[in-house]
C-alpha cells in the first residue's frame, strides 16, 4: 500500500471508529443501563444488523490499532527488511485478533 | 607532476573568490579559515550589491570596480541577488546641491542610471519620505552576504580545492626570506600540523594586517567597523540610498523580511575587539527614518558591528575618508619576502575582481600561463558547498 493510501485508510478508519465506537459504547454500556447479563448479550447479538456492525467494528478497530502501532514502529529508523517483518507480523496478529473475535461471536 | 599548491588564508568573500579563481586555473588550493566560512566581515556586511553609485563622486576607482563586477556577478551568480535596483534620493536642499556632482560622477564611472520624478519614486516606494526632491535609479541590488561566497567555495571545491574551517594559522613557515607554508591549529582537535605551499595568499580581510605580521611584513590596513541595524518589516523594495556624501545610516537594504540600515564608521586597531556601540543603534534609526519615516516605529531584530578592511595607514579618524578600492601586494617586490601575496581592501561586490588580480600575480610568480576564467564560469548553487566529498 502506498503511504498516502495508508494515511487515508488510517484517517478513514479513525473517523469510522468515532461513529462505531460511539454506537458500541452507547448500546453496550450506556443505553438502558447497558448490557448487563449474559442473556442480554446473546439476545443483542442475535440481531443480524448488530452482528454486521460489531463485526465491522472489530475489523476497523483492529486495523486502526495495528496500523497505528506500525506507524510508531516505522519511526524507529527500521531497515527495509525489519519494516517488512513488522508489517508481516502485525498483519498476522491482526488476522488472529479478528479470527478470535469472530469466533467469540459464534460461541453465543 | 602535481600542479603548484596555494594556501589561501581566510574563508571570507575574498578568500572564496581567490580559491575559485586559482582552482579554475588548475592549481591545487587549500583555504584555511579559523572559524566558520564567512564568519568575519563577509557575512556581516550590508548585503548590498553595489552599483558603484555610492562612490561615484569621491572614490571613482572603487565605483568603476563596483559597476564592472556588479554586471559580471549578475551573469555568473544568478539567483544570489534580488534584482530590485537602487534609488538615490535627495531629501534636503543640501542633498540637491550634491545632485549635479552625483550625476556627473555616474556618467564618468559608466554607471547606468535613470532619473525619475519624486512622484514616480513615491509610487515605487510608498514608504519613502514624502519630502523627496529628486530620485535617481541605479543597478544596486540585494545580495545574500553568506551564500554568494559559498557559491565561490562550492565551485572551487568541485575543482579540487580543500576548505579547512576552524583551522587557524599560527605560524607562516619560512626558509630564509621565502614562505614555504603554514603551521595551523585545528580547533576541532586542538592539534597542530603544517601545510606546505608554493605560495601563500593572505586574504584575511580586516585581519590581513595581523596575518601579514606573522610573516614579518606590514600592510597598510585600517580595520574600520560600522554598526548595522536590522529591523523587522520590509519597508522598501529597492535599495534606498541618501543622495549625499557618504554618511551614517544612509542606506537601507531590504533583505528577506527585514530592512537593514547602515552604517556608522570609526576605526580600530584590532578587528577582534569591535565593541558594538549601543548608541549607534539610535543613530541608525534616526538616519534611517530620514529616508523612510516608518522605520522609526519598526521593531529591532538585531544590531551588530562589522569591520571593513580599508587600505590606509594610521591617521584615519572615521574610515569615511579611506578608499574602498583594493590592492594586491606581492611581498617579494615590496618587502623582499618571496612566496607571499596579500590581497587587501575592496568590497564584497568586487571580490571576484580582487581574486582575478591576485591570481594573476600568483600565476605570474609561478611562471604559469593560465588565464582567468571567472568572468564566464557560472557558479554552482550555494547548497553544493555542503556536498559530501571524499
Amino acid at each position: 500500500m502506498r503511504p498516502k493510501t495508508q494515511w487515508l485508510w488510517q484517517a478513514f478508519s479513525g473517523l469510522l471508529l468515532v461513529f462505531l465506537l460511539a454506537l458500541h459504547l452507547t448500546v453496550n454500556h450506556f443505553a438502558a443501563g447497558g448490557l448487563l447479563t449474559y442473556e442480554d448479550i446473546v439476545a443483542y447479538l442475535a440481531q443480524p444488523w448488530v452482528r454486521v456492525l460489531e463485526t465491522l467494528f472489530l475489523l476497523t478497530v483492529t486495523y486502526h490499532a495495528l496500523a497505528g502501532v506500525r506507524g510508531i514502529l516505522l519511526d524507529l529508523n527500521l531497515t527495509t527488511a525489519a519494516a517488512r517483518r513488522v508489517t508481516l507480523g502485525l498483519t498476522v496478529l491482526g488476522v488472529l485478533i479478528c479470527a478470535y473475535g469472530l469466533w467469540l461471536f459464534t460461541t453465543l | 607532476m602535481n600542479p603548484p599548491h596555494v594556501v589561501v588564508i581566510g574563508g571570507g568573500a575574498t578568500g572564496a573568490a581567490v580559491a575559485h579563481d586559482l582552482a579554475l586555473r588548475g592549481l591545487r588550493v587549500t583555504v584555511v579559515e579559523r572559524g566558520e566560512v564567512t564568519s568575519g566581515t563577509t557575512g556581516r556586511h550590508h548585503g548590498l550589491l553595489h552599483s558603484g553609485a555610492r562612490y561615484a563622486v569621491k572614490d571613482q576607482e572603487s565605483a568603476k570596480e563596483c559597476i564592472e563586477e556588479n554586471m559580471i556577478l549578475r551573469r555568473i551568480a544568478p539567483g544570489s541577488f534580488e534584482l530590485n535596483n537602487g534609488l538615490f534620493v535627495a531629501i534636503t536642499d543640501e542633498d540637491m546641491a550634491y545632485r549635479p556632482a552625483f550625476l556627473e560622477g555616474l556618467e564618468t564611472c559608466g554607471i547606468p542610471y535613470k532619473e525619475i520624478t519624486p512622484q514616480e519614486a513615491l509610487a515605487r516606494e510608498p514608504n519613502l519620505n514624502p519630502a523627496v526632491k529628486a530620485a535617481v535609479e541605479v543597478p544596486d541590488g540585494t545580495m545574500d552576504a553568506m551564500r554568494l561566497p559559498l557559491r565561490f567555495l562550492a565551485t572551487a571545491q568541485s575543482h579540487g580545492a580543500r576548505i579547512l574551517t576552524y583551522t587557524e594559522v599560527e605560524e607562516i613557515l619560512m626558509q630564509g626570506r621565502t614562505v614555504t607554508g603554514v603551521r595551523v591549529r585545528d580547533h576541532v582537535t586542538e592539534q597542530t600540523y603544517t601545510i606546505g605551499a608554493d605560495i601563500v595568499v593572505n586574504a584575511g580581510g580586516a585581519w590581513a594586517g595581523k596575518i601579514a605580521a606573522l610573516a614579518g611584513v606590514d600592510v597598510p590596513l585600517q580595520p574600520s567597523p560600522g554598526v548595522l541595524v536590522a529591523v523587522y518589516g520590509r519597508w522598501n523594495n529597492m535599495v534606498l540610498n541618501r543622495m549625499h556624501r557618504s554618511g551614517d545610516g544612509d542606506i537601507i537594504v531590504p533583505q528577506r523580511t527585514l530592512s537593514v540600515i547602515g552604517t556608522s564608521s570609526w576605526v580600530v586597531e584590532d578587528p577582534d575587539r569591535l565593541e558594538m556601540k549601543a548608541e549607534h543603534i539610535d543613530l541608525m534609526y534616526e538616519y534611517g527614518a530620514q529616508l523612510v519615516p516608518a522605520i522609526r516605529e519598526a521593531k529591532l531584530r538585531a544590531a551588530w558591528a562589522a569591520a571593513r578592511p580599508l587600505i590606509g595607514s594610521g591617521g584615519a579618524q572615521t574610515g569615511r575618508e579611506l578608499s574602498r578600492t583594493f590592492k594586491c601586494f606581492d611581498h617579494a617586490e615590496r618587502d623582499g619576502v618571496e612566496g607571499f601575496v596579500t590581497i587587501a581592501g575592496g568590497k564584497a561586490t568586487t571580490a571576484r575582481g580582487m581574486a582575478e588580480v591576485t591570481a594573476n600575480v600568483v600565476v605570474k610568480k609561478l611562471g604559469l600561463d593560465a588565464p582567468c576564467r571567472t568572468r564566464e564560469v557560472v557558479l554552482l548553487p550555494h547548497t553544493a558547498y555542503y556536498r559530501r566529498r571524499a
Binding site: 502506498r2 529508523n77 | 566558520e36 563577509t42 551564500r147 533583505q255 528577506r256 558594538m276
Partner: protein
C-alpha cells in the same frame, strides 16, 4: 549591567571527549546577544568553536540550543531569557563536529535535491510599481537553512532517514511557486514513507522556526496537494 553564568557544551574528538560543560561568568548589557557572549568568550579562549556569519538572523548559521530551546544565537538577547544561568548546547539530531558546531551535510543532502530557487516574488508593498526593467520585485526565500526544525522534530530524532521539515517545506514552496522547477518530480519525491507521510504533526518545527516558514503547515499543505491532487497539472497558481 548584570552578571550571568553561561554553561557551554564542549566537545572535541580526542581532546574533550567525553563532552563536558564549561562555566563562564559574563557581564551583559540590555542589547547583548548569546552570539555576542560567544564572541566575547572566544577572545580569551580561541578553542571555543561555533558557527556564525551575518549576526542578524539572515544566514541561519548560528542555530543552537539555549536553555534547551532551538534558537539563532544572534537574535537571542540574554536579558530576554530572564535567567541567571544560560545553558548553551549544539543542535540535536545532527552530527557533531566540535563544541557547538554541527555538520550540515546531512541537512543539505535532503534539502538540495528539492532544488528550491532562492529568489521568490516579494509580497511586500504590493502597490508599489517596479521599474520596467525589473518587472516584479523579488526577495530571498524565508528559509534560512539553519536546521533548527530538524533539531526540534521528535521524528527526526528517532528516524534520521525522514526527509524532515526543512526539505519538505522547500518542496512545498516549489509546489506553491515552481519558478522553473518540475512540480510532479518534487511531489513524487515527498510522496514517500520517509517523506511527508512520516510527519506526525507535532509542529515543533514551526514552533522554533526563526523566520516563520511554518514547515509543519507546509507539510500539511503537501498532504492536501497529494490527497486532493490539485497541483498535478504543475502550473503556477
Amino acid at each position: 549591567m548584570a552578571e550571568v553564568t553561561f554553561k557551554i557544551y564542549r566537545y572535541k574528538p580526542g581532546a574533550i571527549d567525553p563532552p563536558r560543560y564549561d562555566t563562564y561568568r559574563v557581564s551583559i548589557e540590555p542589547h547583548t546577544t548569546v552570539l555576542d557572549v560567544l564572541e566575547h568568550l572566544r577572545l580569551d579562549d580561541p578553542t571555543l568553536t561555533y558557527r556564525h556569519s551575518c549576526h542578524h538572523g539572515s544566514c541561519g548559521t548560528c542555530g543552537m540550543l539555549v536553555n534547551g530551546k532551538e534558537v539563532l544565537a544572534c537574535v537571542t538577547r540574554v536579558a530576554d531569557l530572564k535567567t541567571d544561568t544560560v545553558v548553551i548546547e549544539p543542535l540535536r539530531h545532527q552530527p557533531l563536529i566540535s563544541d557547538l558546531v554541527v555538520d550540515m551535510t546531512p541537512f543539505f543532502e535532503k534539502y538540495e535535491p528539492v532544488g528550491m530557487p532562492y529568489i521568490r516574488e516579494s509580497e511586500y508593498l504590493p502597490h508599489s510599481q517596479p521599474p520596467e526593467e525589473v518587472g516584479a520585485y523579488t526577495r530571498f526565500e524565508n528559509c534560512l537553512e539553519c536546521g533548527l526544525c530538524l533539531s526540534a522534530c521528535p521524528v527526526v530524532g528517532s528516524d534520521p532517514d525522514y526527509l524532515g521539515p526543512a526539505a519538505l517545506a522547500a518542496a512545498a514552496r516549489v509546489v506553491q511557486e515552481p519558478r522553473g522547477q518540475d512540480v510532479p518530480t518534487v511531489l513524487a519525491m515527498v510522496d514517500t514513507e520517509e517523506g511527508c507521510w512520516r510527519c506526525h504533526a507535532a509542529m515543533e518545527c514551526s514552533e522554533v522556526c526563526p523566520n516563520d516558514v511554518d514547515p509543519g503547515g507546509l507539510i500539511m499543505f503537501l498532504r492536501r496537494e497529494l490527497l486532493t491532487g490539485t497541483s498535478r497539472s504543475g502550473g503556477k497558481r
